[in-house]
């Protein structure tokens, strides 16, 4: 049984088709990285999963039941756009209200436990309006975690978090899926961070799922390249360009050769042409580059 099974989902806003014929499968125990450009239909899909907007067609099944099933919905956690906190109340009070809404027994202990998970127990007495962006994001995630939901839907949960905050959230997410029952859908533009936790990926474009894969499949799909630095980069680039079909300079100042070759072969070729290589390594493209390539029509 999958946590989420979407078939041929569509959503129209007047004449505009935001989602069209989308298929999506989130297995149980998965952290599903949901990726797409701005306006690609990620948030719309997430809102449909959460029952916040009605679908125009297709089906959504959550744990084998209709997405409108109140039993399944009662065990969901969500962070979409705003966390649902009232500005004039403290973090703790906001959490307690959410716990009351969810009918959680021993609400106080549960709230403290969740606040500890996101390292916000020290700021529980702060008014929500006085919290920083990162703190608000942590509170939003904590709200979604209340009641041990089986399915978490988090829209850009890593926005505004500092490095430590991101590390903590990675730990929290990984810990949640340990039992193999709970699943998380995370949409984020921070692909580097997403790659550290996601077990599955879905890439959406213009309202259609263009790729779905596991982390292992992504790893296998990501090409290897050879990165080089030399004393004469311009000359090196020209020389490599003469022999290899795809040579690009990256942000760190390395020349990348994407052709099937070995570092030894490149060093030898450049040495013969009077170039001394100062650094050479092999690496794989990451999720971010894979995604950009896919958006550009699978250039790499």
């Amino acid at each position: 049984m999958n946590a989420v099974e979407i078939k041929n989902l569509s959503k129209n806003f007047g004449p505009k088709q935001a989602v069209c014929g989308l298929d999506m499968t989130v297995p149980m125990g998965a952290i599903y990285g949901f990726i797409g450009e701005n306006g690609s239909g990620k948030s719309t899909t997430e809102k449909m999963i959460c029952g916040l907007i009605p679908t125009s067609g297709g089906s959504i099944k959550l744990y084998g039941k209709e997405y409108t099933d109140e039993d399944v919905r009662a065990k969901m956690g969500v962070l979409i756009e705003a966390p649902g906190c009232f500005a004039g109340l403290t973090v703790f009070d906001n959490m307690m209200l959410q716990a009351e809404n969810l009918g959680i027994a021993n609400a106080e202990q549960e709230v403290i436990k969740v606040l500890k998970m996101v390292r916000m127990e020290g700021s529980a007495g702060n008014k929500y309006k006085n919290c920083s962006l990162g703190m608000k994001q942590r509170v939003g995630i904590a709200m979604a975690l209340l009641g041990a939901p089986t399915l978490l839907v988090l829209d850009e949960p890593l926005n505004g978090l500092d490095a430590d905050g991101m590390r903590i959230m990675r730990e929290v997410f990984t810990d949640i899926i340990k039992d193999g029952k709970r699943s998380i859908i995370i949409s984020s533009h921070l692909l580097g961070e997403l790659q550290k936790v996601a077990t599955h990926y879905g890439i959406i474009r213009h309202g259609k799922m263009i790729a779905q894969m596991t982390a292992d499949e992504l790893d296998a799909s990501c090409r290897t390249y050879v990165a080089i630095q030399s004393a004469e980069m311009n000359k090196t680039k020209i020389l490599l360009g003469c022999k290899y079909s795809r040579v690009e300079e990256d942000e760190a100042g390395y020349l990348r050769v994407y052709d099937m070759t070995t570092p030894e072969e490149i060093v030898s070729y450049l040495y013969q042409n009077g170039i001394c290589v100062t650094e050479i390594k092999t690496d794989k493209i990451g999720l971010e580059e894979y995604y950009i390539d896919l958006m550009n029509g699978g250039k790499r």
Partner: protein, 279 residues
């Protein structure tokens, strides 16, 4: 062997859901300055209106709005069409203050993203309508009480006559408190419709709260010398029907009309929430 982990799903009962929602809404109500500001407004306005009678008008004569303390609470008879500010300035004004307060209260639900959290885990939208109606009706009932205190104190200070049929006065007060339920459901419904546009929500609540549509309709009906009793089926009509010459029939009218509209608006609001997007 099937390795799929077993998951048990169980949603809370209606009683548990509504208890949780009411708990949240009442907590918010009592912890927002907005509620106390509107309670104070409801007390101050009738006192101020009473104080106006101590002032001199443009012609140099003392302004006489009322002759009796309790006219500040309710009109002497059923007046669908008002002839002056005194006919209008009674406890019915609470429904205007209440409309604005409800708009702000529900507006915060949408602005903060609270409804997204709520509607994700609470599939049944009627819970929201019921909870908001109850809490907002309670808030308006409290405003009726502070209005009564403010109006009575103000009226006594300017030494109005206090003679009244106590039974009718009590029916008028309870009738208007009961009407709070119907008005609260109307405002909740309006705010569900205009959930994306906070300003429109406030304006529409104010517009309907003034009863201007019924006042206009009543003027036409009276002009045509037609019976006006049917206007009591509307919230404003039933509200003005609870006055200082009320009898038990007026109270029953208030209960039936308020209850019926509350059901209608709750069903309509639930339908809209089920069919429309949550922003």
């Amino acid at each position: 062997m099937n390795n799929t982990p077993e998951i048990k799903f169980e949603s809370p009962t209606f009683a548990k859901r509504i208890k949780g929602m009411l708990g949240v809404d009442f907590y918010r109500l009592f912890n927002t300055p907005l509620f106390y500001i509107f309670l104070a407004i409801a007390a101050i306005i009738p006192a101020m209106v009473s104080a106006m009678t101590t002032m001199l008008g443009p012609d140099g004569n003392q302004i006489t709005l009322y002759t009796n303390v309790w006219q500040i609470i309710a009109s002497s008879r059923t007046l669908y069409v008002i002839e002056g500010i005194a006919d209008y300035a009674n406890m019915n004004m609470v429904f205007i203050f209440g409309g604005i307060m409800v708009s702000i209260f529900i507006g915060h639900d949408y602005k903060s993203g609270y409804v997204k959290q709520l509607f994700t885990t609470h599939a049944k939208k009627e819970d929201y309508m019921i909870s908001k109606t109850i809490v907002c009706a309670f808030a308006m009932a409290c405003m009726c009480v502070t209005y009564f205190i403010g109006g009575t104190v103000g009226g006594l200070l300017v030494q109005y006559d206090t003679a009244v049929n106590v039974g009718s006065l009590l029916i008028a007060i309870f009738g208007k408190i009961i009407m709070s339920v119907g008005w609260a459901s109307l405002y909740t419904f309006l705010n569900v419709i205009f959930r994306r546009y906070f300003g429109v929500s406030v304006a529409s609540s104010f517009f309907f709260g003034t009863g201007i549509l019924i006042i206009g309709a009543a003027a036409i009906v009276e002009g045509l010398n037609l019976p006006t009793g049917f206007l009591n089926i509307f919230l404003y009509g039933a509200s003005v029907n609870a006055n200082l010459s009320s009898n038990i029939g007026s109270l029953i009218t208030c209960i039936v009309v308020s209850g019926a509209w509350a059901v209608i608006y709750n069903i309509a609001g639930t339908h809209i929430l089920n069919k429309c997007d949550v922003y």
